[in-house]
Amino acid sequence: MQYKPPLQIFIFLSLIHVGNFSLAAGITAGAMLSNSCSACHGTDGKSPGAIPGIYGKSADFISQALTDFRNGSRKSTVMGRHAKGYTDEEIKLIADYFSSL
């Protein structure tokens, strides 16, 4: 038998065999944008205090909220000022990131 598995697969399998592995978080554009929200909303959007949390909210909810803050149709103290810093695509990345946690 001369079959040789592609090198990629070989390396991948050898990796899985090493014990004690966890998932190394690939740092996505969504994570980069969203991490700056956590100073006010708590790590992963889990707010311990008076500021509303984001954790557990759906992508639709988050992108709707940010869009409404941005165009002023939803009143806010500071969120309007923040939301104006993000494009539609970035809002989608943020919404997808938090809803995936």
């Binding site: 740092i27 311990p48 205090g49």
Partner: protein
């Protein structure tokens, strides 16, 4: 798996164009991959250590900080205002330890950049692959005559948290009714641009209740200050006649302090005698950045504002107040935001993947009174020409014509922000 394997692996699968999809599910195993040493367990350093660990749990991370517990500057003005106890703004490193971050309580006294190691005041040396410094600020004591570092025990700056805050708080408590408190803020740039004016507000809040005949005089080195119209409006509404602000050009700029007689002498020859003096000296990057030769002529650290790697030494990163971060102010919020971007830059570099474009945020809440908050905010990005710049159209200050309900809500959110950022930094 060590980093080398992982890097090779990413390179290989990169050829298939599948790198991005596989990366997030990449198994990684070794307990001892690259060694990252973080110096300073304040807003920048504690955040960076936590997010390094979140992004890549296999890194060997060491956080070096002399204090067993960190007492914050944010909300220290509320302590002066009699609204908070110091214990409520003090945080430990227990959660970091639980995450597997190695905590060493010591002072870094030297950095050997060519051999990649730091020396501690205990005599021990520690090797690193990447080094992060977030040492905060140090003071330029020679900026005026008559003051030296040891005088801070009589004339507290309270611009670093903990004992200094307690000292100033005690002086205010012991002051007579009808006394004069002088706050003397420095020129730009300095830690927390709205801080001196929030301080004036909350000291006024305290004096109004306990020593209503007293006055606060702000002798400023500057011609204008952060959120000035909002502060002045608030002072008018809440503390009419109690706070006077003198700009630098109208006699506020101090050139000498007579510590014994508690007298300040301005550049223009005026003399001010006070019961309590809070002189806030001009600032520079924390001492270790100077020892290690990482500062420019102004005393701050130039960095690549995309990664926060020093432009003077490779593999050393400087974040927080000590760094020159484009349009971002020197705030705990900014240090936290930079800590995450820097962690992403380091993890990306070590593992050989592309770092996403950085995004930064800052919001500085200030309390004019316990139920009266104001804020300034912005979203920041990076480009090669401008460095870190404010996204056009984003940010700004609270509206001038806001009603009492709005101010109350911002005061509530200021406290909420404190809970969240200290959780995000230390929790």
């Amino acid at each position: 798996m060590n980093t080398l394997n992982r890097r090779k692996f990413i390179k290989l699968i990169g050829h298939t164009g599948a790198a991005l999809t596989v990366m997030s599910a990449l198994p990684s195993c070794s307990k001892t991959s690259a060694r990252v040493v973080v110096v300073g367990g304040g807003f920048g350093g504690a955040t960076c250590a936590k997010y390094l660990n979140k992004f890549d749990p296999n890194l060997s991370i060491t956080l070096i900080e002399p204090a067993l517990k960190f007492t914050t500057c944010p909300f220290s003005n509320a302590v002066l205002g009699g609204m908070r106890e110091l214990s409520s703004i003090t945080h430990g490193y227990g959660v970091h330890e639980k995450r597997g971050i190695n905590i060493i309580h010591a002072m870094v006294t030297g950095i050997d950049a060519s051999n990649k190691k730091v020396t501690l005041d205990t005599g021990k040396t520690i090797n690193y692959d990447r080094l992060v410094l977030s040492p905060g600020i140090d003071f330029k004591w020679d900026a005026i005559e008559g003051m030296q570092a040891s005088d801070a025990l009589t004339i507290p700056h309270a611009w670093q948290g903990g004992n200094q805050t307690a000292l100033l708080s005690n002086q205010l408590k012991n002051m007579r009714n009808g006394g004069v408190v002088v706050i003397a803020p420095p020129g730009n740039p300095f830690r927390c641009p709205p801080g001196p004016y929030e301080r004036a507000s909350l000291i006024a809040h305290y004096l109004k209740q306990h020593k209503p005949e007293s006055k606060i005089l702000i002798l400023d080195a500057k011609e204008k200050f952060s959120k000035q119209p909002l502060f002045m409006q608030g002072w008018q509404q809440r503390y009419s006649g109690m706070i006077e602000w003198v700009s630098g050009n109208s006699g506020g700029r101090i050139e000498r302090i007579d510590v014994k007689n508690r007298t300040l002498h301005s550049e223009m020859g005026e003399k001010y005698t006070a019961d309590v003096i809070n002189y806030i000296p001009p600032q520079k990057a924390g001492a270790i950045a100077h020892t290690a030769g990482l500062v420019n002529n102004d005393g701050w650290c130039p960095v690549n504002q995309r990664t926060f790697e020093s432009t003077m030494q490779p593999d050393i990163y400087i974040i927080g107040d000590a760094s020159i971060a484009g349009k971002m102010p020197k705030s705990g919020f900014a240090a936290n935001s930079q800590g995450k971007v820097c962690a992403a830059a380091i993890v990306s570099a070590i593992n050989g993947f592309k770092m996403p474009e950085p995004s930064y945020v800052n919001t500085c809440y200030s309390l004019v009174a316990p139920d009266y908050g104001i804020s300034v905010a912005a979203v920041y990005r990076y480009n090669k020409d401008k460095g870190i710049y404010k996204v056009k159209g984003s940010g700004g200050v609270s509206p001038k014509d806001a009603d009492a309900e709005f101010r109350k809500l911002e005061a509530r959110y200021a406290a909420g922000w404190y809970d969240s950022i200290t959780f995000d930094t230390f929790g």
